[in-house]
């Protein structure tokens, strides 16, 4: 009798363990989302959500025997007043819940960004399935269109956009802003959030996407844009320049010398002088190599290198200052200077600076030191010119 009881108890225990299967979702039930776009809908309170879902059966087939019209992805779009409502409404069209863990990019259209992103950001941070390392982008025009632009060398538009942002280092004209980075800047009272801009460029029949520049926010509303040079100015200061192209005028002003940045390091030290002035000491160390020159000058000589290095530093300082001046117009602290001062001068920050930081930001003085070094000239020692031996 006792033995039977024990056996029944064990069986019941094993059945109980099956409760864990309640959450199982089979692969055929998954709608794998790789990109999400948010636009404003006709109704002023609602948003239109476009989710790019991977069509697993078509993946890999397009162009090699498959139907040339069928795409390996599908943009499912719905409208709703909030994001979660719209995402659930998509089940009206798909019949399965969206599977968000592979979502790599979240694209907001400019209208939505200008109205404020708080209400459209909460879901992505709160959802258990979302990744914090997805990128945020702001689209000129409609986000849905950006997600539709079929790339040439990549099958899925969202993956293409992800690669574009990830390889920002090649030009350093944009910055990869993840959800975590964006929220960190949003939480900080002084720093202004930024996000890269993306737009659709129509060239003949093809629609391509281009990611370039940054959008600047005040709290959660977009107020300004930075172009390529200004973006790089920002990246110099926050030590995020990986590589890029610097166009420097030559000493004799007959053309330009083009440098490829090898390494760059930026360090900032804030200082508050006794009479309350704020000076930022920015120290940039830069190594570049000569990749191209458009003149027939012989540049590969030490004294010319000196002058070129000075010109290069000039260009870097100009980029930084242009970034600062653009941001100072709206009082947005994109560099994070406020937080740096908070960390170093805790008391002064709380007593004097915290309240009016926007105004005080416009009065910051700079002391920028750029130490550039030209490391090599690649394969050409002298330019191809008739003035050889001169």
């Amino acid at each position: 009798m006792k033995n039977t009881a024990v056996k029944i108890a064990t069986i019941l225990l094993m059945i109980t363990l099956l409760f864990g299967c309640l959450d199982g979702r089979e692969l055929s039930e998954l709608e794998i989302v790789i990109g999400i776009g948010i636009d404003s809908a006709d109704d002023p309170d609602s948003i239109k959500l476009t989710a790019q879902v991977v069509n697993v059966s078509q993946l890999g087939l397009s162009g090699s025997g498959g139907d040339p019209d069928s795409k390996p992805y599908w943009n499912a779009a719905t409208t709703g007043t909030t994001i979660f409502e719209a995402i659930r409404q998509i089940t009206h069209k798909t019949g399965n819940r969206l599977f968000v863990p592979h979502c790599e990019v979240v694209i907001y259209s400019k209208d939505v960004a200008k109205q404020g992103l708080y209400k459209h950001l909460d879901f992505f941070l709160r959802a258990i399935e979302m990744r914090l390392t997805s990128f945020i982008l702001i689209a000129e025009g409609k986000a849905g269109e950006v997600l539709d632009a079929k790339p040439q060398t990549e099958e899925l538009p969202a993956v293409n956009i992800y690669n574009l942002v990830k390889s920002y280092g090649f030009t350093s004209h944009l910055y990869d802003v993840t959800l975590k980075e964006f929220s960190s800047r949003l939480i900080s009272e002084a720093t202004a959030p930024v996000a890269p801009l993306i737009k659709v460029v129509q060239e003949g029949e093809n629609k391509d996407v281009q990611v370039m520049g940054l959008a600047v926010f005040k709290e959660d509303k977009m107020i300004d844009e930075l172009n390529m040079d200004e973006t790089r100015g920002l990246l110099w200061v926050i030590n995020e320049v990986k590589s890029g192209v610097l166009i420097v005028p030559t000493p004799e002003e007959s053309g330009v010398a083009v440098f490829e940045i090898e390494t760059a390091k930026g360090k900032v030290k804030p200082e508050i002088t006794d009479d309350g002035k704020i000076i930022m000491h920015i120290d940039i160390k830069l190594q570049a190599n000569l990749s191209e020159q458009t003149t027939a000058e012989k540049l590969a000589r030490p004294e010319i290198f000196e002058k070129l290095q000075d010109n290069m530093s000039e260009v870097v300082v100009q980029e930084i200052m242009s970034a600062y001046e653009k941001s100072a117009k709206t009082g947005s602290d994109i560099f994070g200077f406020g937080d740096m001062i908070h960390k170093k001068y805790n008391k002064k920050w709380h007593e004097q600076l915290e309240e009016d930081w926007e105004e005080i930001y416009k009065t910051i003085e700079f002391d920028i030191k750029v130490d550039s070094k030209i490391t090599k000239t690649n394969l050409l020692k002298n330019p191809v010119t008739q003035k050889l031996g001169g």
């Binding site: 225990l13 109980t16 363990l17 409760f19 864990g20 309640l22 959450d23 863990p101 941070l125 258990i128 990744r131 914090l132 390392t133 975590k180 929220s183 960190s184 939480i187 900080s188 908070h342 960390k343 170093k344 805790n346 920050w349």
Partner: protein
């Protein structure tokens, strides 16, 4: 007359204490609300505050070798008052086990399996702990070695994997947080990981050599505290100022591991480790509960009442809080105050009275 027949040695005690303290590795997040980027300071301060308190527990147990705290209370306070004070201990063990059980239930329900009913997790976990306690103290002590080894390795591994995302300037500015918040944090961290080891007062009675226990227990405390410090430092360095918005900063920071697009979504690893650690801690608490109830009722062994006690605990865990938010809010306030007299003062007072009354009498006989 002791309800436990097994014996453990001091090395096992060391690992037991370390494992027990590590069991609260996710509870450091309760303190993050108050002290934000200075949680590491609160952890260090808590270790310092906890050392004398834990020392008083060990000193009490060393003075009465081979006896557990219920018996000690009877001797020091007399039969009636002793039983009342023991009831306070039992009440504490019961509630603490239900808090820990609920903790793991909420962890699973929020992060891992949101659709399953919570009572399932509570019952399954409690029954597993009951099984472990059914086997006795010795197997638990033997398992503690490997639990501590695994958890140490995993914690250090996660820390190393996150080093390149860490930004150590997030620790500045120092001293940004008001002092009262720091004190609050220290109170929470001292009460939950460290002083819940008052449960060990039931286990000290089973040591084979009680004289050297103090050194091992304090070292166990410090090693457990080292892991808690590791967690606090890691979360602050990785998450920076976003630390306070997450339900569980540990989960979020582990999620950010993204190496070679292969090592991603490692938060499951934290879930597994936390489950193992809380299982160890809860089993020890359940052991303390079962033996103390058995002792106070004068039973010869705690085995028969184990299952009914576990069932009561399951229902208690299911009803004690309305939601995780309730749990967090209460733990930061009432949850630590109700146990403050017990954890900080009762053992010390017991020790004091024992010294004044020159108990236990057998020691006196040996001296003269």
């Amino acid at each position: 007359m002791n309800v436990e027949r097994g014996k453990i040695n001091v090395t096992q005690l060391f690992f037991c204490v370390t494992g027990f303290v590590e069991g609260s590795v996710l509870l450091v997040n309760f303190a993050v609300d108050m002290t934000k980027s200075q949680t590491w300071m609160a952890v260090l301060a808590s270790i310092a505050v906890a050392i004398p308190v834990i020392y008083s527990y060990v000193a009490l147990a060393t003075r009465f070798p081979g006896l557990n705290v219920i018996q000690i209370n009877d001797i020091v306070y007399g039969p009636i008052l002793g039983k009342l004070i023991s009831l306070y201990y039992i009440f504490f063990f019961a509630l603490t086990f239900s808090f820990n059980n609920r903790d793991i239930g909420e962890l699973y329900k929020t992060f891992i399996m949101p659709d399953a009913p919570m009572i399932f997790f509570l019952a399954a976990f409690a029954v597993t702990c009951a099984y472990a306690v059914h086997k006795g103290l010795e197997p638990l002590a033997r398992v503690s070695h490997i639990i501590v080894a695994i958890s140490f390795t995993v914690m250090l591994l996660i820390f190393l994997l996150l080093i390149d995302i860490m930004d150590f300037s997030n620790f500045l500015p120092l001293f940004d947080v008001p002092l009262i918040s720091l004190i609050h944090s220290v109170h929470v961290i001292t009460a939950i990981p460290f002083c819940e080891s008052i449960a060990f007062l039931m286990i000290f009675g089973s040591l084979d050599k009680t004289e050297k226990a103090a050194k091992y227990v304090i070292w166990g405390l410090i090693s457990g505290g080292f892991i808690l410090l590791n967690v606090a430092v890691r979360n602050t360095a990785v998450l920076g100022n976003t630390e306070t918005i997450w339900t569980s900063p540990s989960f979020e920071s582990t999620r950010l591991i993204d190496i070679g697009t292969v090592l991603t979504r490692m938060d499951l690893l934290i879930g597994v480790i936390q489950t193992i650690l809380i299982f160890f801690k809860a089993s020890l608490l359940l052991y303390a509960l079962a033996t103390s109830v058995a002792q106070i009722l004068g039973l010869k062994s705690y085995l028969p009442i184990l299952l009914p006690l576990t069932a009561i605990e399951v229902i208690l865990s299911a009803t004690v809080y309305q939601s995780p938010v309730d749990h967090a809010m209460t733990t930061q306030n009432a949850g630590i105050f109700y146990s403050t007299p017990l954890l900080y003062f009762t053992p010390a007072i017991t020790l004091l009275i024992a010294v004044i009354r020159k108990l236990p009498k057998s020691k006196r006989r040996k001296r003269s």
